[in-house]
Amino acid sequence: MELQQFKYDNKIVKYFAIATVVFGVVGMLVGLIIATQLFLPQLNFGIQYTTFGRLRPLHTNAVIFAFVGNAMFAGVYYSMQRLLKARMFSDMLSWIHFWGWQLIIVAAAITLPLGMTTSKEYAELEWPIDIAITLIWVVFGINMIGTILKRRERHMYVAIWFYIATFVTVAVLHVVNSFEIPVTLFKSYSWYAGVQDALVQWWYGHNAVAFFLTTPFLGLMYYYLPKAANRPVYSYKLSIIHFWSLIFIYIWAGPHHLLYTSLPDWAQSLGTVFSIMLIAPSWGGMLNGLLTLRGAWDRVREDPVLKFMVVAVTAYGMSTLEGPLLSIKSVNAIAHFTDWIIAHVHVGGLGWNGFLTFGMLYWLIPKMWGTKLFSTKMANTHFWLGTLGIIVYALPMYTAGVVQSLMWKNFNAEGFLEYPNFLETVTQIIPMYMMRAIGGLLYFSGVIIMVVNLMKTAKQGKFMAEEAAEAPALEKKKVVGGHWHSALERKPVIFTVLTLVAILIGGVIEMVPTFLIKSNIPTIASVQPYTPLELHGRDIYIREGCNNCHSQMVRPFRSETVRYKGEYSKAGEFVYDHPFLWGSKRTGPDLHRVGGLYNNVWHFNHMLDPTSTSPGSIMPPYPWLYRQQIDPGLTAGKIKALRTVGVPYEEGYEEVANNDLKEQAMAIKNDLKENNIDIPETAEIVALIAYLQRLGTDIKAEPTANK
């Protein structure tokens, strides 16, 4: 057998690693800013591009897709070449992948503050960027599969299985969830409506966590942890079982984000039980990681790389136990819409993704620069700041979540809400918001120390762009026998297809009936499409990211129907909602029944200065809504696009829609005028008021007077 000489491409790894650090700092800084805005609302400096509603998607996208995404690619490009004993399939594809991905991030950083958003969480980017993501993802896939096919290692190691699952599933998730009809270059409406849109979105949202934040990082763990610890992986069998069970079960669990909503009961129950069954497969990963360290624990105490990894794996175990517990209905009834969920995702994000990335970087950078880490002491300081940061972040958020939720639900002995004023429950937890920001600051300062440490490390070493290696070529011979799974590891194409099948089953079984069987979403005769003015208002609501703090889903609890003064939300009410706007967090009150509750003047004053009507409110003012005008030229396009996706506007209505728009706007303008407020009928605030006054009113028996 002849030894072949080849070189590993380290340069692409270096670029992805630098991008990881840069966007990590940016993403976390934005997080710190919006955390501070929650107790210091004026921190947007009165600028519309920096409000919480617009920056929150920027934070989540930056951290998930820019920080964790680049870390994943850096880790994958380094480990995959070595595990397969081959250089990446194509250098050109590697670089298209790198620059394409960074361009997408820059596009996100520009469009999200501008309010160009689909409103669907972690999928906020508008349709041209969605297409770009698809293309770049395919480039990554070709490069990866290509490398696997020209490998010099007969079997694929467990890390590679996880990379394959990541590629396949993220592709499916992204394409299905991004079905949307363009209205303008940076505006589209989701193809799906209401309950169906919610189901697709949370199938996506949940599995973005599973296949963007979990599976690739498990793959990374399987490479970097045994490498750093210099120990054999604990159990090959456990790898097999937990890999297949994890990817098969994960995909079903999406509906646990929609418990006690208008989603059909059967789908909710599937979400619950599959989440519970997910505990063991998730813990399989944690166990295989921790047990690999068996016999190396004395080194964990000294080596910062291992320290970071141990906490990362432990945080993974904690959040994957907490997740299923949160999916139990009675727990969810308390935790959903509160800061408990924020704490939960940050234990996963800061602990698992963050710490594993840090551990990997501390190992990778000295390796590629042929030197030692500049300062172990600094790395240890980073470790303690980070760990402390996570604790100081999470504990106040858990407290805040439970305290606020109990306040929302508390009825006094006489049968009245003890805290009928939502604001009271907010001011109660503001000290916790402050603590959380301190936790974030601690974590962030640790990262800054890491940046310095890594830069100094690189400076004292010499970067090896091309690392020479040699291995015999893979003989073209038929290998038979062995363990059945071992046979599968020799067949990357069959492996990929089986992975695809495993992840499709759950999604298909949940989505197809929800789309096809009518009884899942009982129609309500009085529910009508939005008027043209309300459509404009709804798009402003989406642009400002109101859904980041306000839900539109009154759950079937007495405490909610009493508080929000109306029936709980019904599936049939959302059939024209492209996209759905149920929200996932109540920093402010639910708005689904807000229509008609307050008069136009109240809304006018409230949006201009929330504290004037609600003293102590932490909502920022929206003065630009009073200066900016809606563009009636867009009305026809909106109507046509919505008709395409099934909203029953009459043929030709787009021609006359602006007459209705004007009439409705004038009515609001005149009503405001009676109260000595003068505002042009085309002002954005008028459209927003029209939308808010419409919310949840269709099913009320009395005819609405305000229209």
């Binding site: 070595r82 595990l83 290692e153 079997h155 190691y157 490479y223 045994p226 490498k227 054999p232 992986v233 604990y234 159990s235 090959y236 069998k237 456990l238 790898s239 079982i241 069970s245 009961d265 059967w266 909710q268 129950s269 619950t272 039980v273 599959f274 519970i276 069954m277 505990i279 063991a280 497969p281 813990w283 399989g284 166990l287 047990l291 068996r294 016999g295 049968g415 009245f416 809400l417 003890e418 009928p420 004023n421 079937p556 609890f557 007495r558 129907t561 009493v562 003064k565 709980y568 008609g596 509750l597 307050y598 008069n599 109240w602 009507t613 609600s614 009395e702 609405t704 007077a705 305000n706």
Partner: protein, 293 residues
């Protein structure tokens, strides 16, 4: 023996602390008198039992540690070293639950895999992990059977209806022997101080959200001037509270408040007339002039 004396001293201090704690607790109970509801008593008892058992546990652990210390004192160096080398109870339990093979046998478990220097062991699945997996699968099946096949547990709609029914039953029960000798047209304002205080308490808890605690108005109109959207005077105010105002945040309180309570609130609102609180909203609605009665 020195240690024993120290021990005695410490435990007695602890006992005093416990006694003091118990003492203050029972003292608190007696002073609060019969005003404490049964539920609160239950919680207090639970809390007390919990606290005492916690203390007992702490003392037990402390005593155990002491005894261990005594035994160790008697041991030779050799025995000590042997004991040190032995794994702790948790390590033992962990090894048992995972069915660990001893580290020395690791060589035999090594598979012939080698990926960039990473080797894999042929350890079997940790038994407790397998058990956990089975239990969750059983849980899932039972869950689906209960909710969707046998339907023995309520789904969310029924759960909601039950919750509402329970609240209504509670209210009906509370009003069982209420004597109401007026309706919305014949209602008269009460001047009884206790009843007014009751109205005020309710107003400040529930109505103040929209009308401000002083009645000056926030989201809802000012209630302290002579201008009314739906008419002033006890009868009109009572009607608004009872029936609500359609398409506004003013809901009907009839399902939640009994007539006496509604009268008390309406009467309290009447007392706000002309108080002129600072920052009150401007007049809204028609000037209301009371008819001579």
């Amino acid at each position: 023996m020195n240690i024993l004396r120290k021990f005695k001293h410490k435990t007695s201090a602890l006992m005093v602390a416990i006694l003091m704690l118990l003492g203050t607790k029972s003292y608190a109970q007696t002073t609060a008198g019969s005003g404490i509801s049964q539920e609160t008593m239950l919680y207090i008892t639970f809390g007390l039992v919990f606290l005492v058992s916690l203390l007992v546990l702490l003392v037990a652990i402390y005593v155990l540690q002491l005894l261990k210390g005594f035994i160790r004192k008697e041991m030779t160096e050799e025995q000590l070293a042997r004991q040190e080398a032995e794994p702790g109870w948790f390590a033992k339990l962990w090894a048992k639950w995972n069915d660990f093979r001893p580290m020395e046998e690791e060589e035999e478990l090594l598979l012939d895999h080698d990926y960039d220097g990473i080797k894999e062991l042929d350890n079997h699945l940790p038994p407790w992990w397998k058990g956990l997996f089975y239990v969750t699968v059983v849980y899932a099946v039972v869950y689906l059977l209960i909710f969707h096949v046998f339907k023995t547990a309520p789904l969310q709609e029924e759960q909601y209806e039950r919750e509402i029914a329970a609240a209504e039953a509670l209210k009906a029960n509370a009003e069982a022997d209420l004597v109401v000798d007026f309706d919305e047209n014949t209602v008269t304002a009460t001047t009884d101080a206790t009843e007014l205080a009751d109205g005020q308490k309710f107003f400040e808890a529930q109505c103040a959200v929209c009308h401000k605690a002083d009645g000056g108005g926030l989201a809802g109109p000012n209630l302290t001037d002579e201008y009314w959207r739906n008419g002033g005077g006890i009868s009109n105010i009572y009607k608004v509270i009872k029936n609500g105002v359609p398409n506004t945040a003013m809901i009907s309180w009839e399902s939640q408040l009994n007539p006496i309570r509604m009268r008390n609130v309406a009467s309290y609102v009447m007392t706000l007339q002309g108080t002129n609180p600072p920052g009150a909203l401007p007049p809204d609605g028609e000037l209301y002039e009371p008819e001579n009665e």
